[in-house]
Amino acid sequence: MKKTTLVILIALGLSLPVATSCEKWLEATSSSKVTDSQLFSSRSGFHEALNGVYLAMGNSMSSGTTRITFNDMICGPFAPASNSENKALQQHAFKSAVINKQIESIWLSNYNAIANINKALAELENRRDVVTDELEYSLIKGELLAARALVHFDLIRMYGYIDWGGDNETKLTVPYVTVYGGDPTRQLTYAQTKELLLKDIADALECLKDDPVRGVRNEAFETTINGDGYWTNRQIHLNYYAVEALSARVNMFLGNYVQAAQQAADVASAAQAAGLVSLLDAEGLVKESDMAMRDLTLSCEHLFSLDFTGLTTQMLNFFPAIVINGQFVYLETAAMAHFPSDPLSGRNDLYEDVRGPACMLRYTASGYQILKFYASSESPYKDRLPIIRLSEMYYIMAEAAVLSFDFVGAAGYLDQVRFHRGITASVTTWINMSETAENLRKDFLTAILEEYLREQMGEGQYVFTLRRFADKYDKEIVDRANQGTQVAIYPTNNLIYPYPQSEITEGRIQDL
């Protein structure tokens, strides 16, 4: 009997640890990888996850061959490509196997960034015990929400319409994913999706209202939370002004140009006052004799840029420093019309504008090649992939001014940027200011679109503005701004990328 009791005791003793702690014990993983519960158990884990989001956004910008240039290839003023892939892109052969694969990869990598965002957002709420500082919590949350809006905004425009109003309002657009997981998110209409987008931006702005970049110095935060300087380099994070600028960009696309201009004006003045950005010193730029050491992406004006290790190398295939067999993208001499000469003074903008042959375009036997991403590994300006520039704020203000028939104001905004690009002549020197208002409007809009091109060439954003102008304004404006372009951009709906086949077979509708 004693023995039987012993057996029972041993059995019970054994079952106790099994019953209590085995669930935890069974959650084992390999050490070269980190589980979510490990990562999000510390503040630095949240920093790493947020960095991961920015890295994933960088990946999405370099997916396809290079999405940055992929988007430009379909509308940019580039010479006919010799490489078959780029040739297919210029012909908008999105269904061709190799291009289609890249379009799928662009989709996937963008949604991968979104998955990272949603996962981090969910964990941020779950782990309030880890991120205890209110400000830090708000900053992380604000940046994540803004990133979600930014990535979706590009996705909607790449795989759908630019104009979300009118007939398009009730059409279905790409899924706006707010939950991390393996189950698909339902598609919503443009109108519904717009609400989600605007809400994310508004929430982000609210979260970021105490962003250190706004100059409110929080001593406790600086000494305890920001000891390692994580929250110091705000240019490469979606800071308050970057999000406000994003809001201005979105509003401009939505046609809310008054609101857009207000926000743009606020960003232009406040972000400069706060020291986040400053307009370029063009002379200073040219002073540096070593091309590879110059700030060719104009990083002093980046409201938000991604830190992209190896950007120069990544872009080499596209905009090579050394020309190899013509397998690169370049501008023909005809396309230099976008960097116009000044007929009155005889001076040539072409040779003044730092964005032209003065710095960023290099003349080769075939034409001009783009050098803006070229930087030495020693350069303090390397690895900066611009996402939102200060100049865009001036263009928004200028466009809003034109739409209000304030041409002098518009010229002022454009000239501010032009002067800081080294162009001495005002935009008005090649616009006949005595024309009719209607013609002036056309001229100014053409000038604005050309400014966008000069400023954003090769950055993957120009296509959206081009499509917006084409949808909204006269064909003539776009045609003028599109001189030297080898690709047909009409109808602009031809520039919409098809959804990945696997989404279509699972019942997604690309409502075109």
Binding site: K3, T4, L6, V7, I10, A11, L14, S15, V18, C22, E23, W25, L26, E27, A28, T29, S30, S31, S32, K33, V34, D36, S37, L39, H47, A49, N51, G52, V53, Y54, L55, G58, A97, E104, W107, L108, Y111, N112, A115, N116, K119, V174, P175, V177, Y180, G181, G182, D183, P184, T185, Y230, I236, D307, T309, G310, S502, E503, T505, E506, R508
Partner: protein
């Protein structure tokens, strides 16, 4: 053995009665005089009154009188009836037939007669009779339900582990991306249990066969449900030799093995034939249109080669890297001990020399098995240390020799091996290309080695609470360190293109060293309580409760370096630099599991039996939401031969048992980390000076084990001469683990998920018949066959997307290798090809039948059709064995068939081959070259203009190359001689036996295929000697 003892000792306790009893004391020994423990001893016809021998072979039994006939039976020995009066020393003869009395499951031991599961028990003798290579190679010749798959690439490479499946493939092959660790088990591999602890296939392959006492294959649910989530692929339980008597015994076994390459499957052109082919293909010797001068040089070269070929010069390249490998192995085992403390010490050295020069594998191992008993305690400890060192042949892959042109000569004038066989300048490409001598690489210090050091310690403690109940605790540690070294010096032909002039950068970085090191550590432990009681001679009750826990960790790191200017700088640390900025690569994992088991059996008068098992398994590889699974089994059996109405058959019928079982088990041979979100750090990309982590996978917290439901019915039938076992089964694997495609808008392409169902159904039958038996002489025949049919049932719609992508990839990749696709109602391993209508005799092009039934010359992946299963429908073996006047022999033939093979080696040797390489003779004989010719192989020259466009002329999977795969092999033949007692006693020996084995003597195949493309197949002959002192 101990368990057997305790299982049966209780009978002695209950057999008392009022009758007057006579006590019989005796000892049971084998022919060598070694005591046999665990021999079941009972008065004939009254098994309830039985007992079992102790570890020193001794027994005590009470019988009614000295005239009672006692029956002695034990695993691996012939049953013997002895009068109680003569039972003081009983000699049992080792059995030539599979007469096995106990089932060893690795957790407990049961008497086979009352067990309801489908098991196959293999004795040490049986194992050794059918081969002398290793345990796996012998198993292949014994039980056809264990299908050891052919590896047509690796052939008889001693360093490549065999793939196997028990009762058919039950899981889908997942595509692994990235580096797969050497510690990850293949999905269909059965679970190996060595002395109660889980072990690896490699350990079993390398273990000394002489240590094996018995092997038990657990096939159905009733037998394997005790292993819960690990048991679905079947379980192979190996017990090593147990300790026997208190007499010191020394056994030496030595053998010498010759491994000879088998090239019968090769059929290559000689120099003359090859040159004719080249002329016909019209590609070479033209000078590539370079200039008329080059055309002339080309033409001259051709005539010169032809002249030499006609003079009979032709190099037989195949023989160059080959040899007859002479290997040897030695085992010395010493048994020591007294009544309470016993030890078994083993030392073995096994040196395997492969058929390719420099290919070898040697294993040194030492084991110590110590047991101590005191009062109610028994302690046992088995320590095993083994060290393996292997080399792959520095001569390279065998196909390099098969590809070498016979008109090249490998030696220069002074008889040294040449580096360049032909060419060197760019223009030479237009007259036949540059050819390097593969033999060169073996001369310059290329080295491919691997090795491991493994230590295992298994500790057992038993406490006997009562004669019907005991507690067993076991703790095991298995630690293993592995290393793989791959070294290619600068002189290797892979760098021959680079010179300091044309590519200084690559030139200085010639030479490569890849070093992979790994660590593996497993701890496991369990405690079980065993209850085994007979009540009133009528009811037998058996029960076991067990808790087990285990943890396995492994990690593996690969570093690659470059820049080794010469062959004596052959140390990893002498590298110039890391290889092209490659960071260290690696894999690691940790698997944990827990389990609780309750199993019980009941037998009524040894007539009606039932077994039931419930096992709860928890494992870390499965989803957070699904860590635990419950597995169960239920089995019944009926021993007809013990029924009273069968009384009349007692004279001849030994066993007639009907069995049936049902139950579940799981499979968890999967990588970890798919059930929870895992972040990875990108070390080459920081963000603003800070590290960043991104999600690596879409997790599936609901992932669970593949669950296999086994249904089995069987018959065991045995008379004095006939032994027959028939089993029929259906095994449904549900929740197949598979990479499911998910919508990319989730951020990921795939998610590991459970889906669908696979059914294996089959019949296994084995029959042996003793043709003749008289005294020690006998002659027996046997035959076994296993038929298995494999089908996918209820596959999820998500696989349509997988199949669609596979077809798209097939279309895009232009690959001659058939893709794998999964469809309902089709076997897992289907062969997919496009229906061919043959070769158009007018132009030599292939004509296909498309999905609409129209003729076309375009190959389209959408037209792919299933042409049967790669797995054989049936396989089996048959043979004959016997013994007469101290001579014994054994012959085993194995066969399989009913499967289909896509003859990729033929395609690649006949159609998808550059004429710059040597080709199969069928190119010479059977390929289309003249309009109007009816040829089985298409012309290729019409499809290509220059070397680059060869790809467009590739033969893609076509039904022309789907062939029925029926094979019969003379697998093993052996002859032995047992030296007569008088002689060995003079030599102060207990036993001396010599055996000659010949393995894989000949293969008859319905397919003419180059078997062993990267390493040839081999036959082996071996002479073995066993002496006991």
């Amino acid at each position: 053995m101990l368990a057997v003892f305790f299982a049966y000792s209780l009978h002695a306790q209950t057999a008392g009665g009022l009758q007057i009893q006579t006590k019989v004391v005796g000892k049971v020994v084998d022919e060598a005089g070694v005591p046999i423990p665990g021999v079941f001893v009972y008065p004939r016809g009254n098994t309830q009154a039985g007992t079992a021998t102790l570890e020193d072979g001794s027994f005590q039994i009470n019988v009614k009188s000295k005239d009672v006939v006692l029956e002695f039976s034990a695993i691996g020995y012939v049953v013997r009836d002895v009068k109680a009066a003569d039972a003081n020393r009983v000699v049992l003869k080792e059995d030539h037939q599979t007469i096995d009395e106990a089932v060893v499951t690795g957790i407990f031991t049961r008497k086979k007669e009352s067990f309801t599961g489908a098991v196959q028990t293999i004795t040490s003798e049986e194992l050794k009779r059918v081969g002398n290579v290793n345990v796996i190679e012998s198993l292949k010749n014994i039980d056809p339900s264990l299908l050891i798959l052919e590896n047509l690439e690796a052939g008889s490479n001693p360093n490549v582990m065999r793939s196997m499946q028990l009762r058919g493939a039950s899981t889908l092959a997942m595509e692994t991306t990235g580096l797969k660790s050497n510690f990850v088990t293949e999905a269909n591999t059965p679970l190996f249990i060595l002395d109660g602890f889980e072990t690896s296939l490699e350990k079993i392959t390398d273990m000394d066969m002489n240590r094996v006492q018995s092997i038990t294959i657990l096939k159905d649910a009733s037998a394997k449900a005790i292993y819960g989530s690990k048991g679905a692929n079947g379980v192979i339980v190996i017990e090593t030799k147990a300790l026997t008597g208190d007499k010191t015994l020394v056994t030496y076994t030595g053998s010498i093995t010759a491994t000879m390459p088998d090239l019968t499957s090769y059929n290559l052109c000689n120099a003359y034939e090859k040159l004719i082919v080249e002329q016909r293909e019209g590609l070479l010797y033209t000078g590539g249109g370079l200039s008329s001068e080059w055309a002339a040089i080309g033409a001259n070269l051709y005539y010169e080669r032809m002249k030499r070929a006609l003079e009979g010069e032709s190099t037989y390249w195949l023989s160059k890297p080959l040899r007859t490998g002479i290997g040897h192995k030695h085992t010395l085992s010493v048994e020591l001990g007294s009544k309470d403390l016993k030890a078994l010490l083993d030392f073995s050295y096994d040196d395997v020399q492969g058929a390719m020069k420099g290919s070898k594998r040697d294993v040194i191992s030492s084991d110590m098995n110590v047991s101590y008993r005191a009062n109610n305690w028994i302690f046992r400890n088995i320590i095993s240390i083994s060290s393996m060192n292997a080399s792959d042949s520095p001569w390279g892959s065998f196909d390099e020799y098969a590809n070498a042109n016979p008109y090249y000569y490998p030696y220069d004038e002074s008889g040294n091996v040449k580096k360049v066989l032909f060419g060197g300048s760019i223009q030479d490409i237009y007259i036949g290309g540059v050819a390097y001598n593969p033999m060169w690489n073996a001369q310059v210090g290329t080295s491919l080695t691997s090795g491991y050091l493994e230590f295992t310690d298994n500790f057992y403690a038993e406490y006997h609470l009562a004669d019907f109940m005991k507690i067993v605790g076991r703790i095991g540690v298995d630690a293993k360190k592995t290393q793989f070294d791959e070294f290619y010096p600068a002189e290797h032909t892979m760098y021959a293109l680079y010179s300091v002039v044309n590519d200084p950068e690559r030139f200085v970085n010639r030479g490569m060293y890849q070093l992979t090191t790994g660590n593996y550590l497993n701890y496991s432990g369990d405690v079980n309580v065993q209850y085994n009681r007979n009540i009133g001679g009528i009811h037998d009750i058996f029960a076991t409760a067990q808790y087990n826990i285990s943890e396995t960790r492994f990690d593996e790191v690969t570093n690659t370096t470059k820049g080794f200017p010469n062959s004596y700088m052959n140390n990893y640390v002498q590298a110039k630099d890391y290889y092209n900025e490659l960071r260290p690569k690696g894999d690691d994992g940790i698997n944990r599991s827990l389990g609780a088991l309750l199993t019980g059996g009941y037998s009524y008068k040894n007539r009606y039996m039932a077994d039931a098992t419930v096992k709860a398994s928890g494992a870390s590889v499965f989803g957070v939401q699904k860590h635990w699974g419950i597995f169960w089994s239920f089995g019944v059996a009926w021993n007809l031969h013990n029924e009273s109405f069968m009384e009349g058959t007692k004279e001849w019928l030994r066993q007639f048992k009907l069995r049936a079982s049902i139950g579940s088990s799981g499979n968890q041979n999967y990588s970890t980390n798919v059930t929870m979100p895992v972040y990875k750090y990108n070390n080459s990309r920081y963000y603003g000076g800070f590290a960043g982590a991104t999600l690596d996978n879409m997790e599936n917290p609901w992932l669970q084990w593949e669950e296999k439901m086994d249904y089995n019915v069987g018959i065991d039938f045995r008379t004095k001469r006939i032994n027959a076992v028939i089993d029929a089964y259906i095994a449904d694997t549900r929740n197949l683990v598979f990479d499911r495609n998910i919508l990319p808008s989730t951020g990921f392409r795939t998610m590991v998920d459970n889906m669908g169902k696979v059914r294996n159904k089959g019949i296994e039958a084995s029959l042996s018949y003793t043709l003749f038996q008289k005294g020690a002489s006998y002659l027996g025949v046997f035959g076994k066959v296993a038929v298995n049919d494999n089908r996918i049932l209820e596959i999820s719609a998500a696989l349509d997307e997988y199949n669609r992508q596979k077809a798209a990839i097939a279309q895009e990749n232009n690959s001659p290798v058939p893709v794998v696709m999964y469809y309902n109602g089709m076997p897992i391993n289907s062969v997919w090809a496009v229906q061919s209508l043959g070769i158009n005799s007018a132009n030599g092009r292939e004509v296909f039948l498309d999905r609409n039934g129209d003729m076309t010359t375009e190959w389209n992946a959408l037209d792919l059709k299933n042409f049967g299963s790669k797995d054989p429908l049936y396989n089996g073996n048959f043979g004959i064995n016997g013994e007469v006047a101290n001579f014994g022999f054994n012959l085993v033939m194995t066969f399989y068939g009913g499967g289909y093979l896509y003859n990729i080696t033929l395609v690649n040797k006949v159609e998808n081959i550059l004429p710059t390489k040597n080709v199969d003779r069928r190119v010479f004989e059977d390929r289309w070259h003249t309009p109007g010719q009816n040829a089985p192989f298409r012309s290729i020259s019409i499809d290509m203009v220059d070397e680059q466009s060869w790809n467009t002329g590739m033969t893609l999977p076509t039904s022309r190359f789907v062939q029925k795969n029926n094979v019969m092999e003379i697998a093993s033949a052996s002859v032995y001689y047992e030296f007569p007692l008088e002689l060995i006693q003079k030599l102060k020996m207990n036993r001396l036996r010599a055996t000659l084995y010949i393995d894989d003597l000949y293969t008859f195949s319905s397919i003419h295929i180059e078997r062993g493309t990267q390493y040839p197949y081999a036959r082996s002959a071996s002479l073995s000697l066993t002496a006991t002192f």
